[in-house]
């Protein structure tokens, strides 16, 4: 937030992106695919972090924004036969409009009431998906057919089902969102968001219309989550109602808490950590969720600010 050390912060973020790029050529096939998925879901976590970490608004309904992108893009391809870029844009638009409407309604509340209201709206969204099963495929979901998942630029066609193309597309989206997030939190607007988190009443008395500022943050957050959902539909080809369930509202919260709320890179670290703990432990035992639970409890006990949040607090104060 401070105006110091911008070069360090940008260098670190570009370094992380470069590392992910190099990993594409080093990782074995299984982890290659897993990391592509993690990067897309880390975008979801970054969208969530925008609102939870920086504005301090705890939503329990962000699955609806992810699902808005997922279904917005998926239905555009399956039912309307749209091209990949148009479908992606449709997913973003669905997320942005939904976030605007939900924001106007839910921001009338704060704290616990905000959690409950967002969760209720997300449940309504989930039930609507099931109710309109004729179009959405209900609880079965839908598969986005492979031939329609091709990105064409003039003569060149990029097949999004090809692992390398998929990985690079995921990395591209991840990098873009990461740098946009970094720019936002370092901007004057980011400073206002943190001020609202720290003391909303005081921020009003400095002449800020906190409602509008929070509404903009909800729309940015919802749109980023929708981008993640839309990319998920187009890259992995499955659109399912489970992504709109309450579990997918809790997961980004866990990822962000693990990685460190209000840290730009925490979303990636948290998502990565959670996936790998599940992946490794499920190799040993079917009771892997027990181990995940213990790991979470230990983290909360010893690193209450998350992995990156604790590192920032103890060693690297300049981390954005």
């Amino acid at each position: 937030m401070s105006e110091a050390s911008p070069a360090k912060a940008y260098a670190l973020h570009l370094g992380v992106i470069a590392l992910l790029f190099v990993l594409s050529f080093l990782l074995p096939e299984y982890y290659h695919g897993l990391l592509a998925r993690i990067m897309v879901l880390a975008v979801f976590a970054m969208g969530y972090n925008m609102l939870f970490g920086y504005v301090g608004l705890l939503s329990l309904g962000h699955a609806m924004f992810f699902a808005a992108g997922l279904y917005g893009a998926g239905l555009a391809v399956i039912q309307l036969g749209w091209s990949v870029p148009a479908a992606f844009a449709a997913g973003l638009a669905c997320g942005a409009v939904l976030a605007l409407v939900i924001g106007v309604l839910a921001l009338r509340t704060t704290g616990v009431a905000f959690m409950i209201v967002t969760m209720m709206f997300a449940q309504v969204f989930y039930l609507l998906i099931l109710y309109f099963a004729a179009w959405t495929g209900g609880d079965q979901g839908m598969v986005v057919p492979q031939p329609s998942r091709v990105l064409t630029f003039g003569a060149t066609a990029l097949d999004l089902t090809n692992p390398t193309v998929r990985y690079m597309t995921a990395l591209g989206l991840f990098s873009l969102v990461l740098l946009v997030t970094l720019a936002i939190v370092r901007s004057r607007y980011g400073r206002v968001l943190v001020a609202i988190r720290e003391n909303e009443e005081r921020t009003k008395m400095l002449g800020y219309d906190t409602f509008s500022n929070k509404l903009i943050a909800v729309v940015i957050s919802g749109t980023i989550c929708a981008a993640s959902g839309a990319a998920y539909a187009l890259l992995f080809g499955y659109v399912g109602s489970s992504f709109a369930s309450v579990q997918y509202s809790i997961l980004p919260l866990l990822w962000v808490l693990l990685g460190g709320a209000a840290t730009t890179l925490g979303a990636l670290i948290g998502t990565l950590f959670m996936y790998y703990v599940i992946d490794i432990t499920s190799g040993f035992t079917s009771a892997y969720l027990l181990i995940v639970g213990v790991a979470l409890i230990l983290l909360v006990l010893f690193f209450p600010k998350g992995i990156l949040g604790s590192i920032r607090q103890r060693w690297l104060g300049w981390l954005p």
Partner: protein
């Protein structure tokens, strides 16, 4: 000359308690006005009504000729009504710099240059003597410095009316002297409305004094007139002189 601020029949009830009771008040541009009164007299409620932090039960507030009774607090700040809190409420986890950057960046109209924010912030910090502590988290500043930071934030809003709610509370005597100098300087460019318990400060600073008691204005006048006023002495001392 037209008053900068007037209130007409301003009242605020909290349940059965009339915290502010039918107050007619006028403040001239450029003056330093002190508001004094016993605890619970309604001083803080009165300035909270002016700043828009709470809504009046009835009555009207006019600022610079415009009715601002129904404006939200943030819009009043934009018109030039700044309020510094009685209980220090700087952003403890942000640096002193960021605390002042918040009001500075909002008042900038000339563009997005970082240098303009920096210049504005450093000017406000220098005026309050905090420039060398710019990058300390506000929560780690001493209490006196946090009070000064609060004033710096108020100053950075470039207010036309600066409301200071018990600014010297908890300050050491040496800090109070500096503070008096600072308020005199602020008053060159803004009207100051000051709630204060410290009588020597009030007597040195105020052009005029308004005395509140039980939600009403008990007396108003120059420091000398207030000092001689029998009703005021009774309200404060509880005995007829």
């Amino acid at each position: 000359m037209m008053p900068l601020l007037t209130t007409k029949g301003l009242s605020r009830n909290f349940g059965g308690l009339r915290a502010v009771d039918n107050v007619d008040f006028a403040l001239m541009p450029g003056e330093i006005r002190a508001v004094i009164g016993p605890n619970g007299a309604g001083k803080t409620t009165f300035v909270s009504l002016i700043s828009g932090r709470i809504q009046p039960s009835s009555g009207m507030i006019v600022f610079d000729g415009a009715d601002i009774t129904n404006l939200p607090a943030y819009a009043r700040v934009r018109l030039g009504v700044a309020y510094t809190f009685q209980i220090t409420s700087v952003f403890a986890n942000l640096s002193a710099y960021d605390n002042v950057a918040l009001p500075v960046q909002r008042t900038l109209t000339d563009g997005r240059s970082k240098d303009a924010v920096k210049a504005g912030v450093m000017a406000a910090l220098e005026r309050t003597g905090l420039a060398d502590r710019a990058h300390m988290p506000a929560g780690q500043l001493s209490y006196g410095h946090q009070r000064l930071l609060e004033v710096a934030m108020g100053l950075a809003l470039k207010p036309r009316l600066l409301i200071l709610d018990e600014p010297t509370q908890g300050l050491a005597d040496s800090e109070i002297d500096n503070f008096i100098t600072l308020v005199r300087e602020i008053a060159k460019s803004a009207t100051v409305l000051l709630i204060e318990h410290n009588m020597p400060v009030v007597m040195q600073l105020a052009d005029r004094i308004t005395v509140f008691n039980a939600g009403k204005i008990l007396a108003e006048g120059t420091p000398e007139q207030i000092r001689e006023n029998a009703e005021v002495q009774e309200a404060y001392l509880g005995t007829a002189p």
